[in-house]
């Protein structure tokens, strides 16, 4: 029989690099691409609002209240004569900001606590998970309402409230993923080599959570947007004259009968933005599916 030579490895046909496959899978999902497209537009609008908005969104013109949608006021004017279309464009800023920043903050907290409780387990795990159970026992809106009551109603306080509320969900997901990864052999191998716990968490566990965190991030943003809108609608979020979509819907509520567009139009803006994030999130989840379950 042949000798002991270990023989050159038969060149393995090189499968596509990982990210190419993900992009290809994502591109096949039409809805996801549409979602991405909408979000790019929304982001552009948020940046260029001052240039795009035909009118000053805050300038009150009493004579021009409740003008029907017309050529120079595509979505008419509101109870203070302000151009609804311009206010919606400015509203994009608040919603995107509220969507992205608190989600980032709360998820960072969630990742850290999830990693620690999943990796070290026992007492610290028990405490963190009890804390998470506690936070999750509050209906998210109610907890945000309490924080607003405590700190007073303002946009900045919404940031704080939403950041404080959101971490529990992420902590649970990261903890579950860490527990699943912890007894995997490549973690045992690292411990056998003498890699320190911190390095194991950051170099081995976290990178394997990234796909799931990306999907979670994309799907948490809409929750944040909806929460702000709801708080502002209830009058305990953004305060007038801020161009917050939720506040605009609340403002147009009394005039629903004769000027429905004032209340309905900002709602549609919320719907489109949130839908786009959901499409993006679903598309990412399907594209990343093989990499989600560690």
């Amino acid at each position: 029989m042949s000798d002991l030579t270990l023989g050159p490895e038969v060149a393995q046909t090189l499968p596509e690099p990982v990210w190419k496959e993900i992009v290809a899978a994502f591109a096949r999902n039409r809805l996801a691409v549409v979602g991405l497209g909408i979000l790019l537009i929304v982001a552009f609008v948020a940046l260029a609002a001052p240039l795009l908005a035909p009118y000053d969104p805050y300038k009150v013109k009493l004579g021009e209240q409740f003008l029907n949608p017309s050529w120079n006021h595509p979505i008419g004017t509101d109870m203070f004569g302000r151009d609804v279309f311009s206010r919606i464009l400015y509203g994009t800023r608040i919603s995107l900001l509220i969507g992205l920043v608190p989600t980032l903050i709360s998820m960072t907290i969630g990742v850290i606590l999830g990693l620690v409780s999943g990796y070290f387990g026992r007492r610290v795990d028990f405490l963190i998970m009890m804390l998470a159970d506690m936070v999750l026992s509050f209906p998210s809106l109610l907890l945000a309402m309490i924080v607003m009551y405590t700190l007073g109603a303002s946009l900045l306080n919404i940031f704080i409230a939403l950041s404080a509320v959101g971490w529990a969900g992420t902590a649970r997901v990261v903890r579950a993923q860490t527990l699943a990864l912890k007894n995997k052999e490549f973690i045992e191998a690292s411990r056998a080599i003498g890699t320190k716990d911190i390095a194991i968490m950051l170099k081995h566990i976290l990178p394997n959570c990234l796909p799931q965190l990306l999907v979670l991030f994309t799907l948490n943003i809409p929750d944040s947007i909806l929460s702000e809108a709801s708080l502002s609608f209830l009058g305990i979020g953004a305060q007038p004259p801020a161009a917050s979509w939720g506040l605009m819907v609340a403002g147009g509520r009394e005039f629903l009968f004769n000027a429905p567009w004032v209340a309905i139009a900002p709602g549609i803006a919320i719907l489109i933005t949130v839908l786009a994030f959901n499409f993006l999130g679903d598309g990412l989840r399907d594209a990343l599916d093989p990499y989600l379950k560690s």
Binding site: M1, S2, L4, T5, L6, G7, E9, V10, Q12, T13, P15, E16, A24
Partner: protein, 351 residues
């Protein structure tokens, strides 16, 4: 099976004749010919072994018979005559009537093959009642208990109401066998039945399968990557590689005089308990890797790893040639080998 040794010539009219079976998996990166023109036959009451390494298509062959190949797999060619009926042409209703009644299957992972939210008794009687509609719940329960007894489950009556997670791997595999045999099938397909079991439990299950075959006359198609299991259980063996049958022979013939280089390589690379070799002597090892099913070489699929590869092997793929002349056992069951070496030794080609 020691008592069948005397009469291997028993009238084994073909129970199952698979001819040129082709099953393909359409993936985005191209078509994978998992089963590529495979012909296997099983006689009544015969134990036929299909051996091969992972990815050689042995499991897909069995799943294709019963139409259990899930998307993106699809049977694209060939025929499978079972008692004269071509399974591949049956509609859903037709193949369902055969599954579990005439042909039944047991799988490799006893831990996950049973539904965790039903008791094992319920799951076995469900198989019986779905085929023998007239059977009452009580009668079904009685025959399930009797079947548990037959497959050697201690305290069968108590175990009827046990949940799968309360049983060990060995016991669950016995439940699977009971489920497979409850309708008295003509053919039992066992896909790596003992791979996930411990050695002593594996011995029990293999002994059980041999006894059941003797008592019930059920033919068995045993699929395994373990040549030891195949040697101790089967009458005839098919060796598969990269979706193709490389060698087909009666079991003594195959182990005494393997002709195909792949079979010889497998046998040589197996560490032996007999231990003729001390630990210092290295094992023969077939070099290279299992081929990528999307870029199969032109000629013989084993050529890149074969020590006897000739120019001819790389150009054209050999058919299954009759190698029985080469091994001096002309009269016996066919001994075929998909290798030009067989032709070189004067054996006629079998087209």
């Amino acid at each position: 099976m020691s008592d069948t040794q005397g009469d291997t010539r028993r009238e084994t009219a073909g129970l199952l004749e698979i001819q040129g079976l082709k099953t393909q998996f359409r993936t985005r990166r191209g078509v994978v010919p998992a089963v590529d023109d495979v012909s296997v036959s099983v006689g009544r009451g015969e134990v036929v072994g299909i051996v091969g390494e992972s990815g050689c298509g042995k499991s897909v062959t069995s799943l294709s018979l019963l139409g259990l190949v899930t998307h993106p797999g699809k049977v694209v060619g060939g025929s499978a005559l079972f008692d004269g009926v071509d399974l591949l042409t049956l509609d859903n209703k037709g193949i369902r009537a055969i599954r579990g009644r005439d042909i039944s299957m047991i799988f490799q992972e006893p831990m996950t093959s049973l539904n965790p939210v039903y008791t094992v008794g319920q799951q076995v009687s469900e198989c019986l009642r779905s085929h023998a509609s007239g059977v009452s719940r009580k009668a079904a329960r009685a025959s399930v208990e009797e079947m548990f007894e037959m497959v050697g489950i201690p305290e069968p009556r108590a175990r009827l109401d046990a949940w799968p997670h309360q049983l060990s791997g060995g016991l669950r595999q016995r439940v699977m066998i009971a489920m497979a045999l409850i309708c008295k099938p003509k053919l039992l397909i066992a896909d790596e039945p003992t791979t996930a079991l411990d050695v002593t439990i594996e011995a029990q299950i293999l002994a059980l399968m041999k006894d059941l075959r003797r008592d019930t006359g059920t033919a068995i198609m045993l699929i395994s990557h373990n040549l030891g299991v195949i040697a101790e259980t089967c009458d005839r063996v098919y060796v598969m590689y990269a979706g193709r049958v490389m060698e087909e022979a009666e079991v003594f013939e195959l182990f005494d005089s393997p002709t195909h280089p792949y079979t010889r390589g497998l046998l040589a690379s197996m560490p032996r308990i007999g231990g003729e070799r001390g630990p210092r002597k290295p094992l023969y090892s077939i070099r290279g890797n299992v081929p990528d099913m999307q870029q199969l070489p032109k000629g013989c699929r084993f050529a890149p790893r074969c020590d006897f590869a000739m120019a001819r092997c790389v150009e054209s793929e050999p058919p299954l040639l009759d190698a029985s002349h080469a091994t001096g056992n002309p009269g016996g069951k066919p001994h075929l080998s998909r290798c030009w070496l067989a032709e070189a030794s004067g054996a006629g080609g079998q087209q």
